[in-house]
């Protein structure tokens, strides 16, 4: 009985490890695709180092919102743009952010996964399912 339990535990551990590794691989692939989206669409304002431009374009590196759990807010910024003058981590940024509503759900998941895991950011990936769900409510 004990032995069966042990085998079960070992199986469970290896299963979750494999799952985690698969997820990591998926996230890494998503981030790699997201980087291409970032270079074409985001870097011009948010810069190669994700540092943004002081007083004009908000930084993504180290940003509380970018690293936070409110994924819906991040998806909304990309799809709808941002024209309101809002305070971000104690600072205001003057430039409007254009809507990138031509991006596909997968591209949005990819670019967010890239942004959330690049530079000093250590937040988890954003999945296609999440983006689909959030975006359907945005319209």
């Amino acid at each position: 009985m004990q032995r069966i339990f042990l085998v079960f535990v070992v199986m469970m551990i290896s299963f979750t490890t494999v799952m985690a590794q698969t997820n990591n691989k998926l996230a890494a692939a998503s981030a790699a695709r997201g980087k291409m989206v970032y270079l074409q669409r985001c870097m011009v304002c948010h810069q190669a180092d994700g540092g943004g431009v002081p007083k004009l374009n908000a930084p993504l590196d180290g940003s509380t919102a970018v690293n936070g759990t409110n994924i819906a807010k991040l998806v909304k910024y990309i799809v709808k743009g941002l024209n309101d003058r809002i305070e971000i981590d104690g600072e205001f940024y003057e430039n409007a952010m254009p809507a990138a509503d031509d991006l596909k759900d997968q591209q949005i998941a990819d670019v967010l996964t890239f942004i959330r895991s690049n530079w000093s950011n250590k937040a988890g990936p954003v999945t296609l399912t999440q983006v689909k769900q959030i975006r359907s409510k945005l319209k």
Binding site: M43, V44, L56, F92, N95, A96, D102
Partner: protein
């Protein structure tokens, strides 16, 4: 006996005055050993008058040498800083603050100090010592100017006929229906130009002026931050920030290298009624032509020959000319007199290429016209050999002012350093 006393009083006063005069002249002020971190032409030296003053935008220096700096962010609720060098060593010993609004513009003309918020222009009387008579008695000259965040700084300058010139930047990149959005066309005519994207002229002796009572002096200027009245030519000069994102919005027409260089940053000599062409055109200094903007049917090749004024001089793209000053002093060598200094705040829109600017440029003038060759005058503000990302710059030059002795003052709006540049043979 009385005569002797009078004489000795006179003599000691004379010696004292001589002492004050010599001790405060630039020749006798010790520069910082590292010239405040700046690289300057031979014979020039620099010091930090003050450090960590706040986000100092434009600056003005009174006849007594006190510096008034306009802050972009309030310091304990105050938006103008006054710095005084009380012992003649060139460094500020006292710092006081007043005014409860943020902004960029500040200027002194006659016995008045003028300062702007992002919506209004105010006027303060100065006494015989160059001090504000009553900090709480600001007269509101202009009110109700457009402030939508983007390009909202209201730079100011004054002529000799009782007028003040105020820049109202366009809250837009290229007057697209949707700002900075790929595929969005330019609006025709651009409705923004009614109340922004130009220079407005107001009277210095009338209160509460608005768009209705002011004069749209020049239009088609996207965002002017540097402007100065040239007293030699009796003419307004402005430096425009050109539009951004040619490659990002039109990748098929502009590659990243071309998009980093274009459009030109431009300086214009302005006459009343001039139109510089934004958003319909931009200037290309490589071709030496006015080009049709892609939002209005341009393809990177179509030129525009007439209608809009040509720049007096053009610079590579995105360097952000934030301060303009025509030098009228006698301290610097003769070639600098009546030439233009321009403080380039530094670019962000050149990536993936390295950024440019972050220095003060000198534009030599001959017979009232730029010679066409510009040179970097003061470099090293950023503290980097190459600025890859704007946040890496330690200091960014923004405002310029000339002191009573002909020293050049430069403000930095990152750390709030005020530099004084002197010629010391």
């Amino acid at each position: 006996m009385k005569k002797v006393t009078q004489f000795s009083v006179f003599l000691s006063l004379f010696i004292l005055m001589l002492f004050i005069a010599t001790s405060t002249s630039a020749q006798n002020i010790k520069p910082d050993t590292d010239n405040a971190g700046l690289t300057l032409p031979k014979g020039f030296a620099a010091l930090k008058v003050a450090d960590n003053v706040g986000r100092t935008r434009h600056i003005a220096v009174n006849k007594q040498g006190a510096i008034y700096a306009k802050l972009e962010r309030l310091d304990n609720g105050k938006g103008i800083v006054v710095l005084k060098d009380t012992d003649g060593d060139g460094r500020a010993e006292t710092k006081t603050t007043f005014a409860n609004y943020i902004g960029t513009g500040i200027a002194i003309k006659g016995n008045y100090l003028y300062a702007s918020s992002n919506k209004e222009v105010f006027k303060y009387a100065l006494n015989e010592n160059g001090d504000i008579v009553d900090e709480n008695a600001a007269a509101t000259l202009v009110t109700g100017l457009v402030d939508k965040g983007q390009h909202n700084s209201k730079s100011i300058t004054l002529d000799n006929a009782g007028n003040i010139y105020v820049n109202v930047g366009a809250p837009s990149n290229a007057c697209q229906e949707k700002d900075r959005t790929k595929g969005s066309m330019g609006m025709m005519p651009c409705p923004i130009l009614d109340s922004a994207g130009g220079i407005w002229q107001f009277k210095t002796d009338q209160l509460n002026q608005t768009y209705a009572t002011g004069v749209r002096y020049a239009t088609g200027l996207r965002n002017v931050v540097g402007l100065d009245w040239n007293n030699e030519l009796n003419q307004l000069f402005v430096t425009q920030h050109g539009r951004d994102m040619l490659n990002n919005l039109y990748p098929d027409l502009y590659d990243t290298t071309l998009s980093a260089e274009l459009p030109s940053e431009t300086m214009y000599a302005i006459n009343k009624g001039d139109n510089a062409g934004w958003p319909y055109i931009y200037y290309d200094h490589i071709k030496g032509k006015k080009m049709m903007a892609p939002e209005y049917g341009g393809d990177g090749k179509k030129t525009v020959e007439d209608k809009y004024i040509n720049p007096a001089i053009a610079f590579p793209g995105h360097m952000a000319p934030n301060g303009l000053l025509f030098y009228t002093g006698n301290q610097f060598p003769a070639r600098y007199k009546n030439g233009a200094f321009i403080a380039f705040h530094g670019s962000w829109n050149r990536s993936p290429l390295p950024q440019e600017g972050y220095y003060v440029v000198f534009v030599p003038y001959e017979n009232g016209k730029p010679t066409g060759k510009w040179e970097v005058f003061a470099d090293g503000f950023s503290g980097k050999t190459v600025v890859k990302n704007p946040r890496d710059a330690q200091h960014r030059p923004c405002g310029l002012a000339e002191g009573p002795d002909g020293s050049l003052y430069v403000s930095d709006d990152v750390k709030g350093t005020i530099y004084r540049i002197m010629y010391q043979k």
